[in-house]
């Protein structure tokens, strides 16, 4: 199995496929931890490399590094014996996969029906404005990922938002803005501390 350094399929330098990398390039590029290559090798050794392994493997990778950078997709394609475009086809088809790097804070707004009836759109708008990120994207300071997500089952608390793994129920635009400001203040403080 070839490592990305000696891969044969489209060399990024040779073939400008910028549209293809779009989502990733829009965000902030992160280098991928080297451990991931051996993790993929081990996974395929353990479970076999049939096509049905693709989605579970992508899940495990995303759990580890937060998103699915293109070079990782390429490596997986190689390991399973697919064309990279087949892997990209799967990654782009499912909402659960993302090519946007993960920021420090994950903000999710539930867009389920109960939350819709509870005016979740206003909450999403307020969050997008205050953390300066488009839904599905990363904020320009690299601090927040903002995602409009499908029903998270907290309908009794509608409209619901998630900050990291904590659910905040009965959200309002005001509450949402306050959460963002608090997180940003805290980030500023810790940055100040580490700078001293």
């Amino acid at each position: 199995m070839s490592r990305p350094t000696d891969r044969s399929w489209p060399n990024r330098e040779d073939e400008p496929l910028s549209g293809f990398y779009g989502a990733e390039e829009a965000g902030i590029r992160r280098s991928v931890d080297d451990e991931i290559w051996s993790f993929i090798d081990r996974y395929l050794e353990q479970h076999g490399g049939g096509r049905e392994r693709l989605i579970p493997l992508l899940h495990r990778i995303q759990e580890k590094i937060g998103h699915l950078p293109f070079e990782v997709q390429e490596y997986v394609a190689d390991g399973i014996g697919l064309a990279p475009v087949q892997v990209y086809g799967v990654v782009s088809f499912y909402h659960g996969f993302t090519t946007t790097p993960r920021a420090r804070h994950q903000l999710k707004v539930c867009m389920g029906t109960a939350c819709f009836a509870g005016r979740s759109q206003h909450v999403l708008d307020a969050l997008a404005e205050s953390c300066r990120a488009a839904p599905g994207g990363i904020s320009d300071d690299g601090l927040f990922n903002l995602d409009a997500v499908r029903c998270m089952g907290a309908c009794a608390l509608a409209p619901a938002i998630m900050v990291g793994s904590a659910v905040h129920g009965n959200a309002t635009p005001r509450k949402a803005r306050r959460i963002v400001n608090d997180l940003r203040d805290r980030a500023g403080e810790s940055a100040g501390e580490s700078g001293e």
Partner: protein
């Protein structure tokens, strides 16, 4: 006196409200009380004693819920800080903590437990009867509550033909939405040619606002494993796959645990009780695509491809997963199977209507007081669900409509409050049962916006394979956008109707065929509201800010 059990509901609603912290606090409080610890442990000495985390009890509006079944008590909205008091007063001194009891909004009376709370009293909990009662991570708790008795009976006493006959006789219909007779499906797969066959359990609950399957998988995972095993025996499958959403991490973990536990007990895999037919059952996670609830798309996803549907025929019953005959049933359908085949069957078909048998679970949400998971006999009226179980509309608001079946369904207006809810009635009214999402709307909700919400969902979720769905729905969305923006043109309502009917007729799969339903049912029952937007540039609900 039997073992003292404290059941802390850990359904997603209660967990979001802090149930796990409550459970930890209760455990600490029990442990810190040496005298009590003895009391709890001494009684029976069984594994049942102590603080147990259970699946969803359904009364999400009042979570976190703490039940003490021996005293028939259900405490509502319990906080961490209440743990000590519950342990001291209720467990030790057998007193009630009045303020944690549910207060009936009608008369202000405190209700001691489920029997007195209208939310529960109006329900017939069968599929859900163990949800919130047993510890879903303990196979013994399931067996103690009658679990795996049906599988044992099936494997030792019944031929596959007999099993299929009994399912057919019960009148069970697929609970995933379409309502296809389950027994007939089983018969098709059993009779299909092929040595390798599959059973696929569809737990890809993608409908926004629906959490029935999730609650079942989290609260009673062994019932689903048992149902799958029985189905596999009946159709002659050696392999089974349970496909569910990756976001349902608790469900995935509990299902995998249930499969492992069942395998260890020899209830699965080679050497299962009384039979040589082994069953290989794996839990597969989806990756977020509504269309994967469609059976051919679901199969594509299991095979590691983009979840795009393929034309039928061939039906999966003949050519499904990896080209083999495949039985695909929904989670709730399979969870109904063990009770139908149990050695002392509670009758299944004693409730329901002539054509729709049994009970159905609903995720009751939206503008209703008692948001939660409910189960009622098919044929129950909307009024009983909304005003009886649901406790009416918050803030004395006015009931406007009930939306069934999410993006594939439709809304019933107040005029149909007394319509029995069953497969036939809903279909005839242009709504659809769907998988059980039931969203209550009050007069502040604009039906045009609601229609657009669902249409946008379908546009985002369309896989793009067939043009009617890919393009047609987009055009419908554009029309709705301009109507809401106050730029509607005369005839837009009719345009939506014509287009919607075309899309219904010509789309490849269930997603496209049903995507126009919310718009069409909205126009059917709330025509005036659509016309007001288009003609008078007016939003009667006052929600569309671009209009007067």
């Amino acid at each position: 006196m039997s073992a003292l059990r404290v059941q802390v509901c850990a359904g997603s609603g209660c967990v979001a409200a802090g149930a796990l912290r409550v459970a930890a606090a209760l455990r600490r409080a029990v442990a810190d009380d040496p005298g009590l610890e003895v009391a709890v442990r001494e009684v029976d000495g069984s594994a049942e004693a102590g603080v147990r985390v259970t699946g969803c009890r359904g009364f999400c509006a009042m979570g976190p819920l703490v039940g003490i079944p021996e005293f028939g008590i259900l405490y509502c909205r319990v906080g961490e800080e209440d743990a000590l008091e519950i342990v001291e007063r209720t467990l030790r001194r057998r007193e009630l903590v009045e303020r944690l009891l549910y207060r009936n909004p009608l008369n202000g009376d405190r209700c001691r437990g489920e029997n007195e709370i209208p939310f529960f009293a109006g329900q017939t909990r069968r599929t859900l009867r163990r949800c919130g009662v047993i510890d879903p991570e303990d196979i013994d708790d399931y067996i103690l509550h009658g679990g795996y008795a049906a599988l044992q009976r099936v494997l030792t006493e019944m031929t596959p033909e007999l099993v299929i006959d009994e399912i057919k006789r019960s009148g069970l219909q697929g609970r995933g939405g379409a309502g296809f007779p389950t027994g007939m499906k089983w018969e098709l797969v059993a009779g299909a040619d092929g040595t390798a066959k599959y059973v696929v359990c569809n737990g890809d609950e993608g409908e926004p606002g629906a959490f029935m399957d999730r609650s079942l998988m989290e609260g009673d995972p062994h019932a689903i494993v048992e149902g799958i095993s029985i189905a596999a025996y009946a159709v002659g499958a050696q392999q089974a796959v349970l496909y569910t959403r990756a976001e349902y991490s608790t469900a995935v973990r509990r299902l995998r645990l249930a499969v492992d536990q069942a395998r260890q007990r020899g209830l699965l895999g080679t050497g299962a009780i009384g039979t040589d037919s082994g069953l290989d059952l794996s839990v597969v996670e989806g990756a977020g695509a509504y269309v994967c609830g469609e059976e051919t798309a679901l199969l594509a996803s299991i095979e590691g491809r983009r979840g795009m549907p393929s034309p039928r025929p061939p039906y999966p019953a003949y050519r499904g997963l990896w080209g083999c005959p495949t039985l695909i049933n929904n989670v709730e359908t399979l969870a109904n199977v063990p009770s139908i085949l149990s050695p002392d069957p509670e009758s299944f078909d004693d409730v329901g209507t002539t054509l729709s048998k049994g009970t159905k679970t609903f995720a009751l949400t939206g503008r209703v007081n008692n948001v939660g998971l409910v189960e009622v006999p098919l044929g129950t009226t909307l009024r009983e669900i909304v005003f009886g179980i649901g406790g009416g509309i918050p803030g004395n608001g006015e009931f406007k409509a009930a939306h069934f079946g999410g993006p594939s369904g439709g809304a019933l207006p107040a005029a149909h409050l007394d319509t029995p809810i069953d497969y036939e009635s809903l279909r005839s009214l242009g709504a659809m049962m769907g998988s059980g999402g039931l969203v209550i709307l009050d007069e502040q909700i604009c039906m045009v916006r609601l229609a657009r919400y669902f249409m946008r969902f379908c546009v985002e979720e369309s896989c793009g394979k067939c043009p009617p769905c890919r393009i047609g729905n987009h055009v419908m969305l554009n029309l709705l956008d301009r109507i809401i923006a106050g730029r509607g043109q005369p005839g837009d309502t009719e345009r939506l109707q014509t287009l919607g009917e075309h899309i219904q007729r010509t789309s490849l799969c269930g997603l496209g065929q049903t995507a126009p339903n919310p718009v069409l049912s909205g126009i059917r029952h709330f025509r005036g509201e659509f016309d007001a937007h288009v003609r008078d540039r007016n939003c009667p609900a006052g929600e569309c800010s671009g209009l007067s």
